[in-house]
């Protein structure tokens, strides 16, 4: 379904130079792929490229990003727009700032439908309430009318998921979706994502710096380091038997920290 070949991204404004240097990734429908790496390793840039959110005048992109047989890099802005939100949903790291502070939650969730399909306001509302129930937002009728600042961080992230999921996209890109949340909320959100994947068959491209988080949701994992993928494979295999030096350190860091915690 998603096939990334030799993707290269470099910034024009001389900020960092090359952000992603020739990576390959492959996902089938229903797959859950974790993209792990430290900040600045190019994982977010990769995600933004797939989502078509990279500002074109700021970055040079080469290679191929095939989504359902279509090269996203060759799409025009309008062609890309037809996919954004409808087939590809994105959830960002900061639920605090990722929602428009002046728009009611319900309307933000519906917006994806409004942009892509011709449904009546009543139908849109019904769809929004349904997806809100699905993602576990309390009292959908009430929450529908609330503003983002009236929700907790976890609820906001659920609202973000609802807004991305209302159109039942084929691919959800999650850019550190739980990093800004408390540990307990984090677990709930991860469970929710897992449920969406298992029940509805949506593919997840999960970006995180935290190997443990990725392990809980993703079956496959790719480790990025300095713009390159240094190791990829089944999550358990990579986790139990890391090959690359960087992965080893990453795994080690996680396990020692856990031991220290206990």
């Amino acid at each position: 379904m998603l096939d990334i070949k030799n993707l290269k991204v470099s910034f024009n404004d001389g900020r960092k130079g090359i952000a992603v240097s020739g990576i390959d990734l492959h996902m089938e429908a229903g797959d859950t792929l974790g993209l792990v790496g430290e900040s600045g390793s190019g994982k977010t840039v990769t995600a933004l490229t797939v989502a078509g959110l990279l500002q074109k005048d700021r970055a040079t992109v080469e290679g191929e990003v095939m989504f359902e047989g279509k090269d996203l890099l060759k799409c025009t802005v309008d062609e890309m727009r037809l996919l954004q939100g409808k087939d590809i949903g994105v959830i960002f790291q900061e639920p605090m700032t990722s929602l428009d502070p002046l728009m009611r939650i319900g309307r933000q969730i519906e917006e994806t439908v409004k942009v892509h399909c011709k449904f009546s306001a009543e139908e849109r509302r019904r769809m929004a309430l349904e997806v809100m129930r699905l993602v576990g937002l309390p009292e959908p009728d009430v929450t529908y009318k609330k503003y983002p600042h009236q929700l907790s961080g976890g609820q906001r992230q659920r609202a973000m998921i609802a807004s991305a999921f209302i159109t039942h996209p084929k691919l959800l890109i999650l850019d550190e979706p739980t990093t800004a949340l408390d540990v307990t909320i984090q677990a709930q959100i991860l469970e929710l994502l897992k449920k969406l994947n298992e029940k509805c068959g949506v593919s997840l491209l999960f970006i995180s710096h935290d190997l443990r988080v990725v392990r809980r949701v993703c079956k496959k994992v790719a480790v990025m380091y300095h713009g390159e993928i240094v190791e990829q494979g089944d999550t358990d295999q990579v986790f139990n038997n890391p090959q690359h030096e960087y992965t080893k350190r990453l795994v080690e860091a996680v396990t020692t920290r856990r031991r220290a915690n206990v």
Partner: protein
């Protein structure tokens, strides 16, 4: 609601304090009004009689309250130079200035909003940069100079209107607004440039926000993101700036009335200042103060109501 109440109290208190200042300011002005009304040759008895009649012999505190009561009830006293009640002098003039101000304000909104949005859409492009430089130049032209240029081009050369021949609303409504068009535009141009600058920079800074990225990720078109998300957020600081602009426009219309010979509040104020007709000056100043404070009061309230983050706290 408590917020509004609190603001309303501050509003009234501010007005009272300013009224005290205005009253005091006109007490320290040298020169007796009786000399002005009766001339320097008047007999002391006549002067004394007039002082008594005008209530000038009462203690200052009492005079202040008399004056304040008069102001509130619309009794502004007598003009020295016209020898008629100030409120008769004012009637009609206030309307003309208000019409000029409102017309100009509408122009500012109509000019600056589309331009600001358009510039934000193409921010940092060459066109944007060049236009912003042009914008800065327009901003720097004093409104009265714009008025003079307009008078020359549209009045004297193109003869679209006759400078100096003001048309009263009662005589010809269309002609009235037609005559006000160029003065209003003269005020509106530099002010619009200012609002364009602020709206553009507010939108450009909002464009950096995370929720804009979210909006794009939903497949919104660029224009829809600007209209539905960015503009609504960017407008909050601009709305309050518009209040300041409204007051500025009002001040500018007082000056522009000189250029276009519009018989409004500004001409009366200026004439009264040069003629030292103090009751008129005092009344106009107090009216201006009430307008300025009211506009700011409304801006303060609307500022809180426009933003749900503050509304629902």
């Amino acid at each position: 609601m408590r917020y509004v109440l609190k603001k309303a109290c501050v509003f009234v208190a501010t007005l009272l304090v300013i009224s005290v200042f205005v009253f005091l300011a006109f007490q320290i002005i040298p020169g007796d009004p009786t000399t002005r009304m009766l001339g320097t040759q008047a007999t002391p008895e006549k002067v004394e009689a007039l002082r008594e009649e005008l209530g000038l012999n009462a203690p200052p505190v009492l005079r202040y309250f008399r004056w304040l009561k008069g102001f509130v009830t619309g009794d502004f006293g007598m003009s020295y130079s016209y020898n008629m009640p100030v409120n008769e002098l004012l009637s009609g003039k206030l309307g003309i200035t208000a019409a000029l101000t409102v017309l100009s304000f509408i122009m500012v909104v109509l000019i600056s909003f589309p331009l600001g949005i358009l510039l934000a859409r193409f921010a940092h492009s060459l066109t944007d940069r060049l236009f912003m430089l042009f914008n800065q130049i327009v901003m720097s032209i004093p409104p009265f100079f714009v008025g003079i240029i307009f008078t020359y081009i549209f009045g004297l050369v193109l003869k679209l209107f006759t400078p100096g021949e003001f048309i009263h609303h009662a005589d010809d409504s269309a002609g009235f607004w037609g005559y006000l068009f160029f003065p209003a535009l003269a005020i509106a141009l530099p002010k619009s440039a200012m609002v364009v600058k602020i709206l553009r920079s507010s939108m450009v800074s909002q464009l950096q926000e995370d929720y804009v990225r979210t909006a794009f990720s939903r497949g919104n078109s660029h224009w829809r993101v600007l209209r539905m998300h960015v503009l609504r957020n960017a407008i909050i600081p601009v709305v309050t700036f518009l209040a300041v602009t409204l007051v500025d426009i009002f001040a500018a219309s007082i000056i522009i009335e000189q250029v276009f010979a519009i018989p409004g509040l500004g001409r009366l104020l200026l004439g009264s200042i040069t003629g030292r007709d103090l009751p008129v000056v005092q009344t106009i100043i107090m009216i201006i103060a009430v307008i300025v404070i009211t506009v700011n009061f409304i801006a303060d309230i609307s500022y809180k109501y426009i933003d749900p983050r503050i509304r629902f706290r």
